[in-house]
Amino acid sequence: MREYDIVVIGGGLAGLMAAAAATKRGKKVTLLSLGSGTLTIGGGIVDVMGYLEGGIPAATPSAGLLQVGDGHPYKKIGRPAIEESIRFFKEICEQEGYSYIGNLDKTQWIPTAAGTLKPTCLVPKTMDTTELKKADKVTVLGFDALKDFYPSLIAKNFKKIPAFAQKEYEVVMVDPKLSEGRDVTALDVARWLDTEEGLASCIEKMRNVIDSGSVVIIPPVLGTRPDYAVKEKLEKALGCHFVETASVPPSITGLRLRTMLVRYLKKNGVRIVEQAIVAKSIVEDGKCVAVITEGVDRERTYHAKSFILANGGFYGGGLLAEPGKVIEPIFNLPVEAPTDHELWANYSLFSSEAQPFAKLGLDVDEKMRPLDADGKVLLNNVFVAGRNLRGYDFSFEKSGNGVAIASGYQAAMSV
């Protein structure tokens, strides 16, 4: 019988981090994934804690961590483990040649494609705003036909942000000559820059519209690979500083991060099973013995000593929402939710309050083991990580990838 130390269910950031931390501890890991996670949708920026209840910005990510309520995953994980997890994440990035900048003691306000700033904690170097903050004059560079980026909107909105209002903005366009064929997304431009010819041609075009020494805000297009080759070559050739914005899917920064983490896991001997629809589990005496995938052909059983449940929330399928109830489909773990569906959501989509439905999820102890309504551990060798956790609204707080990293790491360390 092939038995692994740990089966990780879910290939999003929480699952990838859990697997990474587990292999670092010398564990033999199988990762069961369905789809390629949400990194390529949500992005590779690591938010930790941006806004507190009431919509008040946290002074720093670490200050925000201390101010969360009791039900919040951060409260369960605890600050030391969160710090370790962030350190571990940065270590992997460094080691794989795609290092991230930032730390828990400083909020980084990064530009977005909507011309707002958003608070975050760790970003790839392509989003370093050091030079942007210092600059008196900023160039916003768009690409002709790219339908997901509107540079004049950004320039106009930055003028309304107090910290950015004094700067002068210039909008310039570069034509990547991609208007033939399908509609143009940031991915098309990034792939153009991946090629040597594309990069050379882009440099020539940029030379005509930007001056040496400029700080240039651009869409996230600096290559699809997890390295800084495109950024460095462009900056060297033009003598400029480029700052990518946070933007709409498909997320190039998320694609890079995912590619890098999957590569890291494979190098470290993690067995990855794609298209694995985990449907049920075998539990004996408060312990999970195996999980079972439902293939189109037949069921397959995966035995392990421990299991990490990181298959996402409502989006990823880790939680299923029905009128007035929430189901966790693999272990049938309890999820407390209002039976009156009207209580699930605020009338305003955007307000100074988090959305109640976004906080629905699994309750866990400090080791990330699932709890019943009385706070009793339900399964001793199952550890929960990521979006299926109760008590946080990642969109409102700006905490998504932070919770994924911290809870994934904590789950693996608790095994």
Binding site: T38, I41, G42, G43, I45, G50, Y51, G55, I56, P57, W109, T112, A113, A114, G115, T116, L117, K118, P119, D144, A145, K147, D148, F149, Y150, S152, L153, K156, K160, I161, S179, D183, V184, A246, S247, V248, P249, F314, Y315, L320, A321, E322, P323, G324, H341, E342, A345, Y347, S348, L349, F350, S351, S352, Q355, F357, A358, S395, F396, K398, G400
Partner: protein
Amino acid sequence: MQKTTVVVIGGGATGVGILRDLCMRGVDAILLEQQDLAYGTSSRYHGLLHSGGRYAVKDAEAGKECIEENTILRKIGRHCVEQTEGFFARTHLDDEAFEGKWVEACAKVGIPTIPISVEEALRLEPNLSPKIKSVYRVPDAAIDGFRMVWQNVASARKYGGRVLTYTTVIGIEQSNNQVVGIKVRNTLTGEVSDIACDFIVSAAGSWAGEIAALAGINVNVQPDRGTLIAFNHRITSRIVNRLRPASDGDIFVPHGSITILGTTSASVNKPDDTVPNAKEVVELLNIGEALFEDIRSYRMLRAFAGTRPLYSADPNATGRGASRGFVTLDHAHDGLKGFVSVVGGKFTTYRLMAEKVTDLVCGYLNVKTPCRTAVENLVEDTSPALMAKARLYFPAYGAELAASRLGSEGLEKVIARIQEKPEKRQLLCECENVTMAEVEEAAADSTSYMISDVRRKTRMGMGTCQGAFCTFRSVGAVDANGLSWGKDTNVLFKEFLQGRWKGIRPILWGNVMREMELTRGIYEGTLNINGAIDNEGI
């Protein structure tokens, strides 16, 4: 001060129908709408162009009007009518005795009903429940409420008709018991102005009581809320009615890429009580299951509600008990000349209502020109040459859709935009196949003030993702063209997404919940349009 002969209140089907009819008979008229055109009940119903089968048993007169108007609208409004035909299907839960009564009643008023075998029905509509007992084909059709209203306006404009949207009526000016003008406020700017006129026609639907009250006249309109569900795909290619006495949740209507299930019926106090709730949705699904077994596995897009303007001289009549016939109230009988309210009725007979009202008004104005709204098409057909040209510029499945939305003139304008900048052929709304050029064209129209107005004209944001992707793009494109109506882009984002949210909130489970995680992830998580630092509020 603006002057006109007749002011028509209400930018729904009846109002625009009256505007068109008046203008075609050479009467100068202005139409006032408190929100956007078709904002009210005309777009908040199932979009069924009744064959009359639904009314035949209970109200033969209404059934007869339906089949006659149905025949007319299929011709004059063919660009907003989808000739789907319809089924009346009796399920295992329905009374068999009603079937015979229904067939007989339909025959009496001239509604053709063709019985087909259940087997044949299932072959034509494979998603139908195999448990159904009997099926009849009827000449139902689907009609696009937004488009019907727009095309009436387009036609009226050709005859000199004027339209003011986001204009609410705050007073009716009278002198010697005769209407002399109307006082209005622009709801966007707050600006108040007067329009001098000889005649006022209130076609305000559920709001007709409120309008009449401005002149101190009592009109008993009881708003009756009907909630509906829009599904993500065409689960049936024909209309499917449940063969039983008219009740909740017994009509499925395919519209282009989607299907609508309606409706519920509940008396409400206010005409704008159009916020649906989860309970109504669950009830509709429970009922709908009898016709479509897998209904719960079909993804919903949104729930929406409108208020039927039920009128009764008897103040105690409510709901389906009240008549669906229409009534023209000449308020000369209440002591005010030059003021008419038209109440009750249904979308299918809007043109007939308009004709009757216009006849009355023209009688007063001594205009003898006969009505021609039944014979003249709303918009001209798009020529084959123009269609061929459109296919060069629109993506697959896009040219026909655009042509039916835009009509010939609009189509030419959109093509011109693409010719000028070829990248404008790109889709801002991928779900509903709406190009950047069309969004810009709609945004530039004088009746557009926000992205939701563009949506009603184009269908952008009305498909699968409900604005998750096209909100960003359309705000960006509108802003880049200097068309953002002087508004902050964050306000535009929020206005549009909040409008989508209204219909999503009551169905927040399954794939809708998943989509919402994505939408919030983009706008709140990534783009931080809700951030305190730039919080503009709406």
